[in-house]
Symmetry: C2
Subunit: 441 residues, 2 copies
């Protein structure tokens, strides 16, 4: 007989995982701390839209949801860089036909919950998990109608960066754990449509790279853009020094002048919205007895590679595969899952931190843009042997750990290439075959 | 008017800090989770004795307690290495007159609590801190007679590696935190006196270095030795493979044959005592409003440099100095304290992890012992310009961060020295002055 499975968290990963499990015939109950977001009482200002790419799509495809979702996303085919004068530079993300997809977090989450419920998944809202016994797998919840105890057979914690299951694990012996906040916070701002149309090119991810800080903008299906300013909390250019409307206006005038006409209520939005922080969470083990962490609960990362959700969805796909491989034997499935995923979670955490530097600083550098151009050319000539790091992460399902390793090797090779004399002029004459050979060595 | 100060934890650091504060005229209350250890209900098996060295002694001296303590410690002047055949090699820790001191944790702690109470410090036992409000500095405790709420003006958390104050901080935004367990656990064993006398040389720290693992022994004032076996939890030679008396006996016969006659009830002790784990805790900030972490609560480290207590006592001394410097202004004292101590806490954490490798492996290596000998000679010739790392950490009050930095430079220089041809024979002819010059460069 198949087990009952208990999931903590009805977010993106919990909802998708419940669909996989329900399709396999499991009886699934989800316990979610918050109220049902489909009732429409959400708060704004926290990561409104996300970039869905290959790994996430592949995981949705396997439960038959990819086509449905593709109709409600906006393809972003490249980066549109804005300099301080408002000049634009465009750089495609990959080859023709390769793009990432801007999607609304709430829409996607609601759709996944609807699908889960159609398959018989029970979602219990306003159940805050207050206690987990890792030995007996008993759980305690606080609900509006008092506290409730349940017993779980297999417990999956998809309850996010501040996971209750992980909290219980952290109190057990020999649990390695780290939470590390970067020095930047973020602020979301909305660009309304102009005469009913997108105020900027909709099929791109817009970046205003400014060295220590940056702003980005992603399109929404209602013709708005969600801008996110990533800025130090403290220091010269920082949220600490943006305390008055005058300071905010002066700051935007200096660094983002082309945005000012697009956000008439800039200072109102700025002071209305919160300034959340950005954390990387790592831990090990993910498994104690028949309890297991997944998604952000196991590996919360910063958003700069657009891979948080994609990594979590890949967790679901891999766990589902292991259920088949190990024929529903959860005492084998869970340890195999953590062994398969932990190195990849560490790799994408590192890649995400590094990509912040690339986005906020390097994309404004002409040498860096030339390097990207040369790498794109290498990829065109040797499509299987030289895949740029961004494409390995975003457009393939090569493991993150392999992508990181190969990317480091590519970086070393390209350092040498870029130091050649007059590379700006001479790059078309490079011996591309021998460059690719170095990568194989 | 001077503030009231609330301390969490009546351990070594909390008790000593309360003495410093009481002597400055503060009204001090300590809240301790456990029962009064002076009632004599302690459990064994967990770090019975400690190595008190210069930093700890200096901090005790400043409150007039050093002489009193020196009478109840056993000086350990060097390392006594035991090989698998029971052959001994001795290596002094420093120069003549330099030694570390084996001291009983419980005796020292009890004495500090007695002294604190004499000065009017109020110690509330069996008060488990269940909640800390970092904004209002209100605290809640569970006690045998129900829960209790108090309000603190200045709150110091000296409540150890599993600190309740740190726990509250970890739930606040932008608190960096990591806990990292090494792969080894430990087991304490007792060597009884033989015919009323120490069974081995008492004025040494005994080490049985065995590569991946080791055993050490420290003398106690009652003529016993406390042995500690540090061993992997899993793997070939590991606690996992020591499940039966036969396995334990065979293991000791292979690796520690000279110890077998000294512990007649070896297997009984082995299975009686727990197998605790070893953790490194790092966090930042240590201060939120007028609350501050110190000692293990801020920086728990592994025991391999014998510096955990010494670092915590140095915290007390430095905090006390800052009270004078900043004239009792706690809004300045606490941030200055974390700024002064955080780099040193990170440094000793790293040094302690590295010293495990040195103790369990390198001290059995003849090249390494020669290097130590050459360094001792350098120190003798140039006592101020070349102080071996161990001496900087143990016999000086140079900051841990400086000791680490200088030690790394010494290591690089010594690598080159040791690679010279026939160094075993030729070392007395080295140009010592020029070696020391390299360190200054």
């Amino acid at each position: 007989m198949k087990k009952e499975i208990t999931l903590l968290g009805a977010g993106l990963v919990g909802s998708l995982m419940s669909i996989y499990l329900a399709k396999k015939g499991y009886s699934v109950s989800i316990y979610e701390k918050r109220d049902d977001m489909r009732k429409g009482n959400q708060q704004g200002g926290r990561s409104i839209n996300l970039a869905l790419s290959n790994r996430g799509l592949k995981a949705l495809e396997e439960v038959g949801l990819a086509e449905q979702i593709k109709r409600l996303v906006i393809p972003m085919k490249g980066r549109m860089m804005h300099d301080v004068k408002g000049n634009l530079t465009y750089q495609p993300y990959g080859k023709e036909g390769q793009f990432i997809n801007s999607v609304s977090r709430s829409w996607l989450n609601e759709m996944l919950m609807d699908e889960a419920e159609k398959l018989g998944v029970n979602i219990h809202f306003e159940h805050r998990c207050s206690q987990v016994n890792l030995d007996t797998q008993a759980l305690e919840f606080e609900t509006p109608s008092g506290s409730k105890r349940i017993q779980s057979e297999v417990l999956l914690g998809a309850d996010g960066a501040f996971s209750a299951l992980r909290d219980a694990m952290q109190r057990s012996d020999r649990f390695n754990y780290s939470q590390y906040y970067i020095e930047h916070g973020y602020k979301e701002l909305c660009i309304e449509p102009q005469q009913g149309e997108f105020a900027m090119e909709p099929n791109a991810l817009h970046i205003w790279p400014r060295g220590r800080f940056m702003m980005i903008a992603l399109p929404n299906t209602n013709e708005t853009f969600t801008c996110t300013l990533f800025l130090d909390y403290e220091g010269e250019d920082s949220f600490a020094n943006l305390q008055t409307p005058e300071q905010v206006e002066a700051f935007f005038k200096t660094y983002f002048p082309d945005v000012i006409p697009l956000i008439p209520d800039l200072t109102h939005q700025f002071f209305q919205n919160p300034t959340p922080s950005l954390v990387t969470v790592k831990c090990y083990p993910w498994v104690k007895n028949r309890t297991c962490l997944m998604g952000d609960a196991a590996h919360a990362i910063v958003p700069f590679y657009g891979q948080g959700m994609n990594a979590g969805f890949e967790d679901c796909r891999v766990l589902n595969e292991l259920i088949d491989t190990h024929q529903h034997n959860w005492d084998t499935i869970l340890p195999e899952f953590q062994q398969a995923r932990k190195p990849n979670a560490d790799a994408i955490a590192e890649l995400a931190l590094k990509n912040f530097v690339e986005m906020r600083d390097l994309v404004a550098d002409s040498q860096f843009l030339l390097q990207k151009k040369i790498e794109a050319h290498l990829h065109e000539q040797f499509p299987k042997d030289w895949i740029p790091l961004y494409s390995m992460v975003t457009f393939s399902d090569l493991s993150y750990a392999d992508a990181l390793r190969i990317g480091q090797k590519q970086h070393e090779i390209m350092q040498k290439v870029m130091s050649k004399p007059d590379i700006e002029k001479n790059w078309p004459n490079l011996d591309f075959a021998s460059i690719v050979e170095q990568l194989k060595a």
